[in-house]
């Protein structure tokens, strides 16, 4: 009976599975499983030897139970035993169990690895494949550690079967992706690359996946693959559809391999070797030619395979971007796809064209399809395709077609999907600005934009239009007129009110001559919108009103009335209330002259990157790259002419305000009034509060300096923001200083930069500093090492200059580095006789420096001794006949010379005075040391 069931069938398993399937409820299923588990446990108890078949069967059941979602905590050992079986089915089940249920159980992993090793070294290709598959499926670090060295050897060995090679390549790829640091190709590299020449197409396909992955990480090592890939590609491309028997898919020879080859080539620049390049170009041309041929089959698989190769080839052409001929041909090919029946093809064609449009060679060719693309934008049913069409329009836009494209995009905007509206708005705004020849057109476009899609017009867009209007005086009148007309619509968007309020407030006078837009009409128009607006807009309108008072004194009474009304002056919003109160006072107290100065027209804005572009970049990285690149120069000509040279009012503070809202809202003029506002918010950027901390760059700070004459470690400098600690050590003429910069705030310092300057001392001191990180996080400390070499004696200490930005304000701190000549003292011990002999030798008047001074710190003996030792000299005992006196000796080490130095300090306790005498072989040294020391006592 067992003999019958011992086929591959495993009837027990089939019965078990059908039992489970027939269970009426979850409970019944659990009961059945519990029963089976108990049965398997009793079988695995160990006292009975199981044959391979039943072991396989039970392991299989366990696997099935595990896959049903139950925990399995036994049977691993039996599965590992199966690995050593000689039967394929048993080994296979063992490997299956291991790859599904393996956990990092140390002893088992060792056994498993052992079994895998045995299989890898066996000559049986199926066993080797099973082992490789298991490694790839598990792909753990332990596996990679154990086999990363072994697999490349199998991969390149000459006698390995093709199927094993395929498995090995893919297994290696898996391990490389999981733990790239463990897979080191090294010596195998060239042999792996040569797998591209393998006879067996399967091996080539597997190997090329591996090579693509490896070469994307380190392209240089695999450079040789380019020529091989090209020759392989050309062989495939030129082959007839029947040549590659098994690898021909619906009349297309080896489509997967071709795609992979083309993708591999995209990792590299165009080949330098002319022959290779020629061959490649030929291949690409053939591919493009083939696309023109009538299809050999009507099956969708045929065209899919063909198009896959074509698109991959086009990507490669775009990647190279050096063959105008090919680029144009590719573009034409894509143009045909634009009207293809297949939605996917249209999508891909539009996407590829976007990249083509950025190439200078094919830009013109792309432009010829503008009508089709516009048509796609209008009629396409699929939203993702419409999105691509919009992207392409944006990419192909230039001066010649800007008006058409912008008009089309604007008209599309009215029906566009909500998801892409904001992006469309940004694109229209950018294109309108970039290609504007005529500013009235620009203003019209943007106002139209606000009218059509006001909700999607972000702050940046209307900031930008105001910036441009302010900077260009030739459009101001037109802008005022257009805005005035636009505001007359019964329902206009809030953004329109903002732009209108701002522009009329600045330039309302330019249209005031017309009785239809007299000051009062303008004001009433604006005020009719007031109550429907949000708080920020109302605040802006209030500012516009005060500007009106300046522009048109005749409106003063009306406006004051409005400001005085309870809804303004007692508004619950603190910002509005404050504005109302302040503007009211300003208008009633200040004379016209003062008003005119305070409410002067806004100065032009400094040039900077368009904030809209920055926003688009943030929204969407790659799509817009090409346009941005040229943007710099284009924008130059747009705004370049707008500088009103004569205007001296360009306040420096205005230029440094960080938020775009600040310079737009024109509150610089109101700032003197509201200088004390605590609630500056996003509207009122208080430039003065920022100027405050920036002014702390006050002169050189050197009170810390003298404290370091006699000590090497301590705190050099401290304020509310920054603490600088110091630690230094000196040996002979060399010194090393560690500076610790501690950020005391919770905000990070940016562009943190320190420099050590020593004006004329380049030949006196040699100072090397290591640069510090430009970012100091809040509460963090950074360390800087300064190496100092003393070349000769010196007086002035080097200066340390620290610059950083704290919350936008630039901080500048200058300190004297506590490097003094006495730091290079080398103590010298000598006997009394010795000392006095030398003392007498240095008896020339210029060699001696003497100072008599009053004690400023008290005259404690121990403190004095410590200070003298800290000076760096040796304190000599029993030398001076008067025990009250202190005598020291030392040699100052500089690179150029050594200067011996003797010191005598005579305290007078009654008078609280000292007499300090210094003698050294160099007069400057005596003088300097004497000066330094005199400050210490």
């Amino acid at each position: 009976m067992p003999a019958v069931s011992k086929g591959d069938g495993m009837r027990g398993l089939a019965v078990f599975i059908s039992d489970i399937r027939n269970c009426k409820s979850k409970e019944a299923e659990i009961k059945r499983i519990n029963k089976e588990l108990a049965n398997i446990r009793s079988k695995f108890k160990g006292d009975k030897a199981l044959d391979g078949y039943s072991k396989k069967k039970y392991v299989c059941k366990l696997l099935f139970i595990f896959l049903l979602g139950h925990d399995i905590d036994f049977g691993h050992m039996e599965a590992v035993n199966l690995l050593s079986s000689n039967k394929y089915t048993e080994k296979q089940i063992g490997y299956l169990f291991i790859s599904v249920l393996v956990n990092s159980n140390s002893e088992l992993i060792r056994l498993i690895n052992n079994a895998i090793k045995n299989d890898l070294s066996s000559r049986n290709p199926t066993f080797m494949c099973l082992a490789l598959h298991c490694i790839a499926n598990v792909g753990s670090r332990e596996m990679a550690e154990a086999f990363a060295g072994e697999i490349p050897r199998i991969l390149v060995a000459g006698d390995t079967m093709d199927s094993v090679k395929q498995s090995a390549a893919l297994c290696l790829l898996r391990l490389y992706k999981a733990s790239p640091d463990l897979v080191l190709m090294g010596e195998w590299t060239s042999r792996v690359v040569h797998l591209l020449n393998d006879q067996h197409m399967g091996v080539v396909t597997a190997a090329i996946s591996l090579i693509t992955c490896l070469s994307s990480k380190n392209p240089d090592e695999f450079k040789t693959c380019v020529s091989l890939a090209v020759s392989r590609l050309s062989r495939i491309v030129s082959s007839a559809s029947t040549d590659l028997q098994d690898y021909t898919y619906y009349f297309v020879p080896a489509p997967w391999l071709s795609c992979k080859l083309l993708r591999l080539l995209q990792c590299y620049p165009p080949p330098e070797d002319g022959a290779v390049k020629g061959r490649l170009v030929e291949c690409l041309e053939t591919i493009l030619n083939k696309a023109q041929e009538p299809p050999k089959s009507k099956k969708v698989q045929h065209s899919n395979a063909k198009n896959a190769i074509l698109f991959e080839a086009i990507s490669l052409i775009i990647h190279y971007d050096s063959e105008p001929n090919l680029l144009v041909r590719a573009c034409n090919q894509l143009g045909q796809f634009l009207q293809h029946r297949e939605t996917n093809l249209r999508y891909l064609a539009l996407e590829s064209m976007c990249t083509l449009a950025s190439s200078e060679f094919s830009h013109e060719a792309v432009k010829t399809h503008i009508e089709t693309v516009i048509n796609a934008l209008k009629t396409e049913r699929d939203v993702s395709v419409r999105q691509r069409a919009a992207d392409l329009l944006y990419a192909m836009c230039d001066r010649s077609n800007a008006k058409q494209i912008v008009a089309e995009m604007l008209s599309y905007l009215e029906t566009a999907d909500y998801s892409i509206r904001e992006e469309m708005v940004l694109k229209v705004a950018i294109l309108a600005e970039k290609y504007a020849v005529d500013y009235s057109w620009y203003v019209d476009t943007i106002l139209n934009l606000i009218r059509i899609a006001g909700d999607y017009v972000s702050e940046e867009v209307w900031y930008r239009v105001i910036q441009i209007v302010i900077n260009r005086d030739d459009v101001q009148g037109y802008a005022a007129k257009t805005v005035f007309e636009a505001l007359q619509a019964p329902a206009c968007h809030e953004n329109m009110v903002k732009v209108g309020g701002y522009i009329l407030g600045e330039f309302g006078n330019l249209i005031a001559g017309d009785p239809r837009s007299s000051p009062l009409v303008q004001f009433n128009l604006l005020h009719s919108k007031f109550h429907l607006c949000s708080v920020p807009t109302r605040a802006l309108l209030l500012s516009a009103y005060i500007k009106f008072i300046n522009l048109f004194p005749e409106t003063k009474a009306t406006i004051q009335e409005v400001l005085r009304s309870d809804s303004q002056i007692r508004n619950s919003d603190v910002e509005l209330q404050q504005r109302a109160v302040e503007y009211l006072k300003l208008s009633s107290i200040a004379s016209t002259d003062v008003l005119a100065t305070v409410l002067e027209e806004m100065p032009p804005f400094p040039e900077r990157e368009s904030s809209i572009l920055a926003k688009l970049k943030k929204k969407k990285g790659p799509g817009a790259v090409s346009v941005e690149l040229e943007d710099g120069k284009e924008r130059g000509e747009l705004n370049g002419g707008g500088d009103r040279g004569g205007d001296a009012a360009i306040a420096a503070s205005n230029a440094s305000t960080p938020s775009p809202s600040a310079d737009l809202l024109g509150l610089r003029s109101a700032a003197p009034v509201s200088g004390a506002t605590p609630s500056a918010g996003s509207l009122l950027v208080d430039v003065f509060s920022e100027a405050g901390p920036a002014a702390t760059s006050a002169g050189v700070n050197d009170d810390g300096f003298l404290r370091f004459v006699c000590k090497n470690n301590g705190v050099l400098f401290e304020n509310q923001l920054l603490q600088i600690g110091i630690k230094s050590e000196y040996r002979q003429n060399l010194g090393r200083m560690y500076l610790f910069y501690g950020n005391k705030t919770s905000v990070q310092f940016v562009s943190f930069n320190t420099t050590v300057s020593y004006e004329i001392k380049s030949r006196i001191l040699n100072v090397q500093t290591k640069t510090v990180e430009p970012l100091v996080e809040g509460g963090a400390q950074v360390q800087q090492v300064i190496n100092i070499e003393c070349l000769t004696d010196f007086i002035d200490a080097p200066l340390l200059n620290i610059k950083f930005r704290y919350g936008g304000a630039l901080q500048n701190i200058s300190l004297k580095l506590p490097v003094t000549i006495n730091k290079f003292f080398q103590p010298t011990e000598m006997a009394a006789a010795d000392f006095f002999q030398r003392w007498k030798q240095l008896s020339q008047p210029q060699q001696e420096a003497q100072k008599i001074f009053k004690a400023s710190h008290g005259m404690d003996t121990e403190v004095l001794k410590a200070k003298l030792l800290g000076l760096g000299t040796a304190l000599l005992e029993n030398v001076d006949p008067n025990p009250e006196n202190y005598v020291c000796a030392g040699v100052i080490q500089t690179k150029a010379q050594q200067v011996g130095c003797l010191l005598r300090l005579e305290p007078n306790a009654q008078a609280q005075m000292y007499r300090l005498t210094l003698r050294s072989s160099k007069d400057t040294v005596s003088q300097r040391v004497c000066d330094l020391l005199a400050e210490q006592f």
Binding site: L37, S42, F44, K45, F74
Partner: protein
């Protein structure tokens, strides 16, 4: 306000779907199936809230009954209704199974129309329902005008649960006190928690519109009676320690609650046939019919020795029945040997337990089982959680100590007195969750 009611089979296929309110859409049917019946983890809460819709479900064998609502309803009311619904269906066609539901779906829809109106529960008394929802569809034709008008007056009348003009040759009353004892005991024999939940179920075959009065040894009533009639010596002696403290109780709708509130007396006009008169719960002075003494010893990593003694703790003249002790085994059990003095014991692998069954056992006796469990060493370091040993039994007395003192029947119009009624009283104590930790 129930929005809809669905009945599913074990696969989650809808057997019955009745929507009462517009706010419940068809997708609610699927939401419950996907989130509860087919949920990966078993959903244990009977109330599930999915997308602001509440699902209340009960399960009867393989059948799911789910009530759905979008409103904030009284959950207890909904469950009461669902249980009632089960009772009604059971009394119409027996066991609630997929096949029975499929065979009776017309009837079920008819019932659902009657007992729930715009989501508000209506009369769900089986006896009353059976008068106008019958299983013989053609009966309606033969109903006389009078009968029809009687139905109307009965449904809308004050006593909706009993119709007039019932006549029996032999007036009979059956009264069952059914209790279930729940216990959790520590291995040392300390009671961790214990309570009895009991029901008084009646079956009455009485003529006319009788008025019944039911009395039991409720502590409050006895004490009151004791105080009221101090002179009555006999009454005093019967009270005393025999009375029980009832924690809480609920009554069938026929019981006059006002009278219970004022006098603590239970008087009612009974429905005809089967009904549950009251439910109650007690926690004090419970007679625990059995004591389980476990002894578990682990011998090395691969062996476990279990010894369990059970002692019966009631009058030796009484016989307990259907005794079943369930001893859980570890999950890595690979073999079990059992020896027991009495009854039969078997290792049931599908339930991971040793099940020991004894048919009958008299009071004040003791029996013992011992088992050797072989374990398979596993690489799992988890320790066995040692679930408690549970027990099932049936005893012929009320473990709460409840006694029926009297059940009087008064029928003024028809001429039969209390003495003419044949009364049967039966006590059955069953195990609820009766567990001892080991």
């Amino acid at each position: 306000m129930i929005g809809g009611l669905f009945i599913y089979n074990h696969k989650g296929e809808v057997l019955i779907s009745r929507v009462y309110r517009d706010d419940i859409g068809r997708n609610a049917v699927d939401a419950f199936r996907v989130n509860v019946i087919h949920a990966r983890q078993q959903v244990r809460s009977p109330v599930t809230n999915i997308a602001r819709t509440s699902f209340f479900h009960v399960k009867r064998s393989n059948i799911w009954l789910a009530a759905v609502t979008k409103q904030n309803v009284n959950a207890a009311m909904v469950f009461e209704f669902l249980y009632k619904m089960c009772d009604v269906m059971a009394s119409y066609f027996g066991k609630i199974s997929e096949e029975n539901i499929k065979n009776n779906f017309v009837l079920i829809y008819e019932l659902l129309d009657e007992i729930l109106d715009f989501g508000y529960p209506q009369n769900s008394e089986t006896g009353a329902l059976k008068t106008f929802i019958t299983q013989q569809g053609i009966k309606g034709q033969f109903q006389t005008k009078e009968e029809q008008s009687q139905i109307t007056s009965q449904v809308t009348g004050q006593i909706g649960w009993r119709r007039e003009g019932i006549k029996y040759r032999r007036n009979e009353l059956f009264l069952d006190v059914l209790e279930s004892v729940n216990l959790l005991m520590s291995p040392q024999g300390q009671v961790l928690s214990a309570h009895v939940s009991g029901r008084v179920v009646m079956k009455s075959y009485l003529s006319g519109m009788p008025e019944c009065k039911f009395g039991m040894n409720d502590k409050i009533v006895i004490d009151k009676a004791g105080k009221g009639g101090v002179t009555n010596e006999a009454g005093k002696s019967t009270s005393g320690k025999q009375s029980i403290a009832i924690d809480d109780c609920t009554f069938n709708q026929c019981v006059r609650l006002s009278k219970f509130d004022s006098e603590r007396s239970i008087s009612f006009i009974p429905p005809d046939g089967d009904y549950e008169l009251m439910r109650y719960r007690t926690t004090k002075d419970i007679i625990l019919p059995f004591r389980v003494i476990p002894l578990v010893r682990e011998v090395g990593r691969t062996k476990l020795e279990v010894k369990v003694v059970i002692k019966s703790n009631f009058k030796p003249s009484l016989l307990a029945q259907k005794i079943e002790v369930r001893i859980p085994t570890p999950l890595n059990t690979s073999g079990v040997q059992v020896i027991c003095m009495k009854g039969k014991a078997k290792y049931k692998a599908s339930e991971n337990a040793i099940v020991w069954k004894i048919k009958r056992m008299a009071g004040m006796k003791e029996s013992q089982i011992s088992a050797e469990i072989e374990l398979l060493p596993t690489n799992d370091k988890k320790k066995w959680a040692r679930p408690p040993i549970s027990m099932n039994f049936e005893v012929p007395f009320a473990p709460s100590g409840l006694k029926v003192r009297y059940l009087k029947v008064f029928e003024s119009k028809l001429n039969y007195s209390d003495h003419d009624v044949v009364k049967w009283v039966r006590y059955i104590g069953r195990s609820g969750i009766y567990e001892t930790r080991c």
